[in-house]
């Protein structure tokens, strides 16, 4: 195999590292010290390794390190620290949403991706956004609460960017379920016949 030097931009910091082509983003992130990115299955089934790649939540075990060059990579630890935690991280801690904590970094990454697009998600949207992140400890209930709490606190801080997809996702003003006619993400919608406008 021919290794080459790859530049990876992780949490605002650039790493230059010589890598073989078969190294996954998960492996290189952990080797570079970003051990907050967890390895749970290495095949995209569990979401523990989730990172943001140019703002999209992905399983880093299914991205090759070479493919991630040039992208902005954000891991959970890039959002905040013990002395300066991100509101989402605080909300998870406060809502009792963390038991063993192994799924937590991936969950928070998926939450960040959700709230960046949809600052006021309904419960079904929250659950759908987290559908690729397995948790074995909590039963997801307190995690859903943590996401709701995160959304509320971010709104209070006024720091969340508005969704650019307002036409597709209708975020209601106060977080209640939006009109089912408008939403494309309602569970059970898929069993309706679609009618052209």
């Amino acid at each position: 195999m021919e290794a080459r030097t790859v530049r990876l931009l992780v949490n605002g910091r650039t790493h230059e590292v010589a890598l073989d082509p078969n190294v996954t983003l998960l492996q290189v992130l952990r080797d570079l010290g970003h051990t907050d990115v967890k390895s749970g299955c290495e095949k995209g089934d569990c979401g523990a390794c989730a990172v943001l790649l140019d703002g999209k939540a992905v399983n880093s075990c299914l991205v090759l390190a070479w493919q991630a060059e040039g992208a902005e990579i954000l891991t959970n630890a890039g959002l905040g620290t013990i002395s300066d935690p991100h509101p989402i991280q605080e909300a998870f801690a406060d809502a009792g949403a963390i038991q063993c904590g192994f799924c937590t970094p991936g969950m928070i990454v998926a939450t960040k991706a959700l709230l960046d697009r949809n600052p006021n998600p309904a419960e079904a949207e929250i659950r759908e956004a987290l559908s690729g992140n397995l948790c074995r400890c909590t039963g997801y209930g307190q995690i859903v609460e943590a996401v709701r709490l995160s959304a509320e606190r971010l709104r209070d801080l006024g720091s969340s960017p508005a969704s650019s997809l307002a036409g597709i996702r209708s975020a209601s003003e106060d977080g209640r379920e939006a009109d089912p006619e408008d939403r494309l993400l309602v569970e059970g919608d898929e069993t309706e016949a679609g009618e052209e406008a």
């Binding site: 195999m1 190294v23 979401g47 070479w66 956004a129 679609g194």
Partner: protein, 290 residues
């Protein structure tokens, strides 16, 4: 577990990709990686050379081209889900994408990858089959179009020839009154391979009803004899029941870890009936109240 060793070429254009595929016959395109890298890790495949398509911007993009919707092969399932054009002209595909795998996978899995992997349970196939979609394949010096139905040849076998790259999916744009229905059974509500899936389309323009089934045959298939029967009977209760029975007879499911063959046959009849009833406007519901 580490991936097996391979060379990785990173193309930045279709032309460059085709050059690589032509000069390195063992090279394989790498799309979203959600199937290919999993298979590689398991040593089910041992690719010598992969061609990374993630920088080939020509393979992205969804646009209307005359009377066709053209979707680049590297468009992700998440992008399909977000696309107003797809929602408008191929809402059955939108419905399928909403139930595709799980959120994280949708950000990487691509329509081209899903088709090229050619799993019998490939979720994008049933909607594309009822939409009569075709794909464009290019090789150095050639362009070929093939209906999706002809492209899916066998379980995890596609008709992609050496040197070819699946470049785009082309969907005929249908009249505005077209209705669709989609049903899928899986063993949990996210991130589970389909046990059975069914897509149905009622084209008000030519009046035809198209039915496609997934995970019940060596490839996703059109339920032709059911379609033929419906042409004669129309969407009457008897016609629907008859078509559903024929569809169940048309399939050749297998026993696997997700379900027994006889369960699948039985489920096909139910799903087809429900899809057709929805097309008729009967409503009805599944267990989740939807």
């Amino acid at each position: 577990m580490t991936l097996p060793a391979f060379e990785l070429r990173q193309a930045s254009s279709i032309a460059e990709t085709l050059e690589i595929l032509a000069s390195e016959p063992k090279a394989q395109p790498l799309a979203g990686g959600t199937c290919l890298l999993v298979d590689a890790r398991a040593r089910k495949i041992r690719p010598e050379t992969l061609v990374d398509l993630s920088r080939v911007t020509e393979l992205r993009g969804i646009e209307r081209d005359g009377d066709e919707l053209v979707i680049g092969a590297m468009v992700t399932i998440a992008e399909l889900l977000d696309s107003p054009l797809v929602a408008e002209h191929a809402p059955v595909l939108t419905a399928v994408c909403r139930k595709f795998a799980a959120a994280l996978i949708r950000n990487r899995a691509t329509i081209g990858g899903n088709l090229a992997h050619a799993s019998p349970a490939a979720d994008t196939a049933p909607p594309l089959l009822v939409l009569d979609a075709a794909i464009e394949l290019r090789a150095r010096g050639s362009v070929r179009h093939a209906p999706v139905a002809e492209f899916l040849v066998g379980p995890c076998r596609s008709d992609r020839r050496p040197g070819e790259l699946l470049v785009s999916v082309r969907i005929p744009i249908r009249p505005a009154e077209t209705r669709f229905a989609y049903e899928k059974i899986r063993l949990r509500k996210a991130d589970a391979i389909s046990v059975v899936s069914a897509a149905a389309l009622h084209d008000r323009g030519d009046g035809a009803i198209r039915l496609a089934l997934g995970a019940v045959a060596p490839t996703p298939i059109r339920a032709r004899s059911a379609e033929g029967a419906l042409k004669k009977s129309g969407l009457t209760p008897e016609g629907i029941a008859d078509a559903a029975r024929r569809a169940a007879e048309d399939v050749r499911p297998i026993d696997d870890i997700r379900g027994a063959a006889d369960y699948r046959s039985r489920a096909v009849e139910v799903l087809v009936r429900r899809c057709l009833e929805r097309l008729r406007g009967d409503g009805g519901e599944g267990p989740d109240g939807g």
